[in-house]
Subunit: 609 residues, 2 copies
Amino acid sequence: MCLSGTLEDKLAATAAAGFDGIEIFEADLVASPWAPAELAARCADLGLSIDLYQPFRDLDSTDADRFARNLRRAERKFDVMAALGTDTVLVCSSVAPDAVDDPDRLAGQLTEAATRAGERGLRIAYEALAWGRHVSTWERSWDAVRRADSPALGLCLDSFHVLSRGGDPAGFAVVPGEKLFFLQLADAPHMDMDVLQWSRHHRLFPGQGAFDLTAFLGHVLAAGYTGPLSLEVFNDVFRQADPARAAVDAMRSLLWLEEGLAVRCPELATTPAPLAPRLSGYAFTELAVDGISGPQVAGALAALGFGHTGQHRSKPVQLWEQGAARVLLNASVVRPSAAGVAEVAAIALESADPGRSAARAEAFRAPVLPRTRGAAEADLSAVAAPDGTQVFFARTGPDGWPADFLPTGTEAGLGAGITAVDHVALTQPFDSFDEAGLFYRAVLGLEPESVTEYAAPFGLVRSRAVTGPDRAVRLALSVSLLRRGEWAPGVPAPQHIAFATDDVVATARALRAAGAPLLAVPANYHDDLDARVDLAPGLLADMRECGLFYDADGRGSYLHLFTEVLGSRVFFEVVQRLDGYDGYGTLNAPVRMAAHRRLRRTAETPAPA
Amino acid sequence: MCLSGTLEDKLAATAAAGFDGIEIFEADLVASPWAPAELAARCADLGLSIDLYQPFRDLDSTDADRFARNLRRAERKFDVMAALGTDTVLVCSSVAPDAVDDPDRLAGQLTEAATRAGERGLRIAYEALAWGRHVSTWERSWDAVRRADSPALGLCLDSFHVLSRGGDPAGFAVVPGEKLFFLQLADAPHMDMDVLQWSRHHRLFPGQGAFDLTAFLGHVLAAGYTGPLSLEVFNDVFRQADPARAAVDAMRSLLWLEEGLAVRCPELATTPAPLAPRLSGYAFTELAVDGISGPQVAGALAALGFGHTGQHRSKPVQLWEQGAARVLLNASVVRPSAAGVAEVAAIALESADPGRSAARAEAFRAPVLPRTRGAAEADLSAVAAPDGTQVFFARTGPDGWPADFLPTGTEAGLGAGITAVDHVALTQPFDSFDEAGLFYRAVLGLEPESVTEYAAPFGLVRSRAVTGPDRAVRLALSVSLLRRGEWAPGVPAPQHIAFATDDVVATARALRAAGAPLLAVPANYHDDLDARVDLAPGLLADMRECGLFYDADGRGSYLHLFTEVLGSRVFFEVVQRLDGYDGYGTLNAPVRMAAHRRLRRTAETPAPA
């Protein structure tokens, strides 16, 4: 149930992503035209073992008549298991409203079921659901297994059920290893909601949520568990997303977990991927432009104080520089039909060891991109991020990528006081927001910050930054809370590059003098700001004059401005961080979006004749 | 915040839908380039009054210093109100974690704020949020207003905040009418979740959820409230849907509420819409087909035992009949590019008074469709349902719509035992599922049944039937829980017509003998059914032989079969209801979907050379 599709779709995706085995959930089997033996043969062909079967619920804690009927049903499912060639069946704690709260009856009924299973060479893994009627903690499930005392009965541990209730995995040490029959892993965000709904809709792959699954897994392994690591992730988005991608995402989550475990519990370590080399900033960002958008973006960069310092030796690519901010305009990669397109094609990260960065990315299943290279050109390895953005690992220096560019004679100055790239903000495709968080975490060693949700003019938006420990690399990812439909009059999937300055007021004045296409901020915004914040004297007047937005966090404040949208979906931001402000001015985004929308509406309105 | 878009989009939608006034929420104003006075002028031009302003939160229950700052902020917002020309400001109960639980301080601070408002001719409507730190019930908000005892201070009542906490609106009788300053209405489904999340994401327009808003409104009016009925509906879908449509949906919800009030409290009644005439069944259902799908659907109908009994006088429309089931195949309405298209174009409902049905539909803002009519043809009024399906009101009889058809000479028999249309199942566009529930409720007088959610192969699906009191008309509406993305390999937005039979086994045998394109049911399905249900002797064998699905509810059982998909997205179902079964076999839908998916996959796979 981690993956979308029919059983056929799921098996193909799982095998292609390199999994060793699967669980079979009854609903998939019932809807399949394959008899169990045929399914087993197909799995064998794909190199997949069937490690667990989940055929029913509410076996136990009931009266004798109903238990007899349940046993009859169980026996029929044991027949299916024989044909599937799997030996472990999951039994969850009962959720029946009339389940009897009687530990002896529970143990007795589990013993009877396990005895029947044992007679057929099968075994039962008993699991406490977090919303079980009477057994809702792993301790109570272990109590039942201990009382039942049958060799064919053991525990199934599920990280969600344990951690969602604040359970302590350190306690697993009391369970003998041979009684740990099965392990299911799922991460989840912290949410203030009914645990059943939380579990059914919002689980995530390890590394995508808020649970400490590395510690959890360490405790399970330390207790002596030797079985498979299975992912049981109920997630509304994954249920309808491309299963081939979701399976790779899932595999990446296990590789990430394996690495974390190797760091924390070296005694349990397998061979880890290469450690993430330090990333010290953006070497460059590359925009794909065309004949319409190219001059528009180039004009804006010039007005922002950038110099056109280089021209690529073999491709129609311009290098623009100011301070340590470098932007490439690439007119070679755009689809011919996409008139006016301007979008972020690539980010190049300054790596202490580009080769090792690339090797790590590949080890974490990042798709490696083919790269055409001219005679005298630097060898840049690139991988594709989940949104399609190319991620390069580079070193900026005389022997590095800048050697691909012939100097134009223009010097890069500090035209308008821009010093570097502060962050790059990328709207993610709806299906891949959580995948992206894990991708940047595992592949680049960036850490996801907390998720912010806000009401934008055209719907709710979810936003999350991934950053390096020293904030040299910041990526701001966002996604609409629901996939956009036909009513989507804003900028489609906007992207922007935010440049840093040490004096945004001076920079803004320089930009205005140069005629940069700055976005106007409504007077109402500054009026409200004045009503709710005590600002330093003169600052409000400067902000009104320069069209600046303001934000503050517990540490410091943030002054920032935006340009208009250039081409299809790109714009620039200029930011000044004061006193260690660590955010992205996210709560100003709705005002910026409304202003961008207004310009589009104006542009679309025909001029009066 | 009921509507998507910037303030400009929202005003246009609200005015077009016929609203008298609006509330202004601070976020919209702050993002707007219009100064408050300019906004007031635009509203006046559109005939909209500004009835309430919501500028901030957490005014009160705080220390003297912070309260002084809050008052300064309030004074600035009073300036805005003067420019807007609105006299009522909303103050919600504080949600600040450090809000002080001191009724005297609360009353004192409210008095001071109200005194300042009163000096400027303004008034404060105080509202208890269901998650307020200390004031979370309307009784506590009334206690605060009573203690404060200021003429410029009164209550704002919000149905969500009262009803989500199980509050009793009968208690409003203790509040003097002149102290009821404002009324906000929102419906909601019953949900087991944190009340803040429930409120922020899942509110609905009146008539779309589970609250008894008619009774609520009756109590408010009986207590002497004379102000506007305002809708405050936070809903993730409405926030990103076309605001013009959502505003009409909102207006329909108020008309529906008005009618309900007129029935329950005639003394409060205004002029109601015409009552819904009884609908006694389906006069016909009409499928749009083309040159590719037409013969395929006709062949299937023939194999299902239908006779081609009539040909339309002026259009390429065939009438097919069996028992009281009538299907029109219309080859005139399909877009030329849509090769193979087959979809439900119209449903015609047997009305006791078609003219009155149509008048009611128009009164409830159903879009009336233009109708081209030939010389001797019946006058059929049609409106468009939210998914675009045409809804006709008809009378079947010699003087009715059948007169439009020239007999072919073929008689309608009971070829395969099909007696009537049991229900029509329509996948709804993502944005209009809740709109559709209210549309059928208000326009046709059908009642929405409870919502079922289930895991289908390509994502979660939500399903809800709307039915007449005698079940003569049943419509099964469904929608994917998330809007479909690129990975959507199932049938796109499937639709089907379910025919009734009194003996589905006999019908199935006749269909098989006639070569009907019946959908195969996996053996695993029947094996599982056998394991979990005690079926009557012989029934399981019949079900396996005939490819029948099974379901049961508290009353009876349901045997049903499906055909393959015909053309782009239509198929047929044949059903037998036993012992008053009242459902739709919804939980079998995933198996049916997987089988349909499998056929598509097979069809798409090129045959070996």
